[in-house]
Symmetry: C2
Subunit: 292 residues, 2 copies
């Protein structure tokens, strides 16, 4: 290790004493986690996207986009997306399904104003990440969702796995009928431009490996090339025996703050250079299905 120390001394010098970082490893932290470090995702916020190859579980976030949240739940209740096909899969960007201008439907608002940020989230509820971010003045976590914030505004971030609401050009041209999930390097330039409403918690690989569409923007030229969506439901719309108990690591705990430090100063022996920083979309959020 002396060789490495010499080799990298210039690099270490870029940071405040990362050589003296505490010994924290992600694996050890998780192994030592207590039940209270985890939370169950409420069935009313859990979207079950059943594809031909398996199940994708997405957690919805009511506070950040309450009107889209209601519409999406009602659309699932209406079986709006059942038996349709993915419309788009663009490499290093998004997969997308549904349509932006459907027929009128009971209890569904046809157009919603964009819900790009909220003023209803007190900053003290966020777990901050202190590293620099290219796009947001401040970043952190709230209930397992990466967030940007500034003054009294908080907004969700386009990290890998984020669920967003397609729209046309106008601010009120989305409704929740057309949805997308980020499947590539986080396109953070979309932040504050479009409504985000959730994040994939399990089964992400079923979306990220969908064949890319050959048309412009990754749309399938032949619509029948898109993989089929069997159904989309909210947990509370399912029979109890079909509900899955999904646990997600809490992000408002000491354990999670330690996990951030562990990811900043990577003490695993494989790492030669422990950078001392982590980007908000690179902080992992462990999840697990718990048997009943």
């Amino acid at each position: 290790m002396i060789v490495f120390s010499l080799l990298f001394s210039f690099l270490f010098a870029m940071d405040p004493a990362p050589n003296h970082a505490p010994h924290l490893l992600t694996k050890e932290l998780l192994d030592e986690s207590k039940p209270s470090d985890w939370r169950y995702v409420d069935q009313k916020n859990l979207l079950y996207l059943e594809t031909e190859k398996g199940l994708v579980l997405i957690e919805l976030m009511e506070l950040m986009a309450p009107n889209h949240y209601l519409n999406i739940k009602q659309l699932a209740e209406n079986k709006f997306w059942d038996n349709i096909r993915f419309a788009r899969s663009q490499d290093n960007y998004v997969v997308q399904w549904g349509v932006s201008n459907p027929k009128k439907m009971k209890n569904v608002k046809p157009r919603l104003k964009g819900e790009y940020f909220t003023e209803n989230l007190p900053k003290k509820l966020l777990t901050p990440l202190e590293d620099k971010d290219t796009y947001a003045p401040f970043v952190g976590f709230f209930k397992g969702f990466p967030m940007g914030y500034h003054d009294d505004k908080t907004w969700m971030l386009h990290c890998y796995g984020a669920l967003g609401v397609g729209r046309d050009e106008a601010f009120d041209s989305g409704s929740g009928t057309e949805l997308y999930v980020v499947t590539g390097h986080s396109p953070r330039h979309l932040d504050l431009n479009i409504t985000l409403v959730g994040k994939v918690r399990l089964g992400m690989e079923l979306l990220s490996t969908l064949p890319r569409g050959k048309g412009p923007l990754g749309f399938y030229k032949d619509k029948k090339k898109g993989a089929k969506i069997k159904s989309i439901r909210v947990g509370t719309q399912l029979p109890k025996k079909k509900q899955l108990r999904l646990q997600v690591l809490r992000t408002d705990t000491d354990l999670f703050r330690k996990l951030i430090i562990a990811r900043k100063y990577r003490q695993e022996s494989w790492f030669h250079y422990r950078g001392g920083r982590v980007e908000v979309c690179n902080v992992p959020l462990p999840t697990k299905i718990v048997s009943k």
Copy 2:
């Protein structure tokens, strides 16, 4: 647009006058590009990775990792990877192939010291990106490769599509026999920890959609589940008629500097919030195959 201006005035205020950004659109810039804005990738630096589903083209970068560059070219000459299978595909991370400790081979060095950065790249040759970066003090571009730099050191970045050299724990345990490509959100914590030696220029979707392995770290439990690699060759090892003329946008031009501005201030009418910044891994690098 008045509504948007009011709604977003607080956000615009975060940046120096992005409302007055010049009208530059990526599409218009590329439409107006001159032949001198493009360069051909030298066949001696072009790796042809032939999969069962098509061709992936990777540009190698000699200056940043000269010893690994030589080894990899020799390994291709030796047909080292022909008819093997991808060993690993981990969601939101990498695909990987080859082995780290092969048998002794003619003209191939079995172990190489990590080539994590160079001191041989004068800063004036870099096109800087002025936005904040979480991981590197400074970032920019050199010959189409995203780079970090600090003092007299320059290093390649783990952006989507980066080609790296697998290694075990020791600094000199890689050789180029085991390679990986980034297929998810850019794992920039790997920067300065492992040798990068190229970037995928075409056919990335053939790697990013490979089925994920079910074993730890995305390794295929059943090795036969990995898709087959038919062959890997350098352009100069192919007959002339099999060589493809691949053009990549130059990154040392006024056009590219304008492209960066266009990506910072997104003037496309779809965007409501023009953030005024862009992350180094989010700057696209246009490429095209030119007929002979």
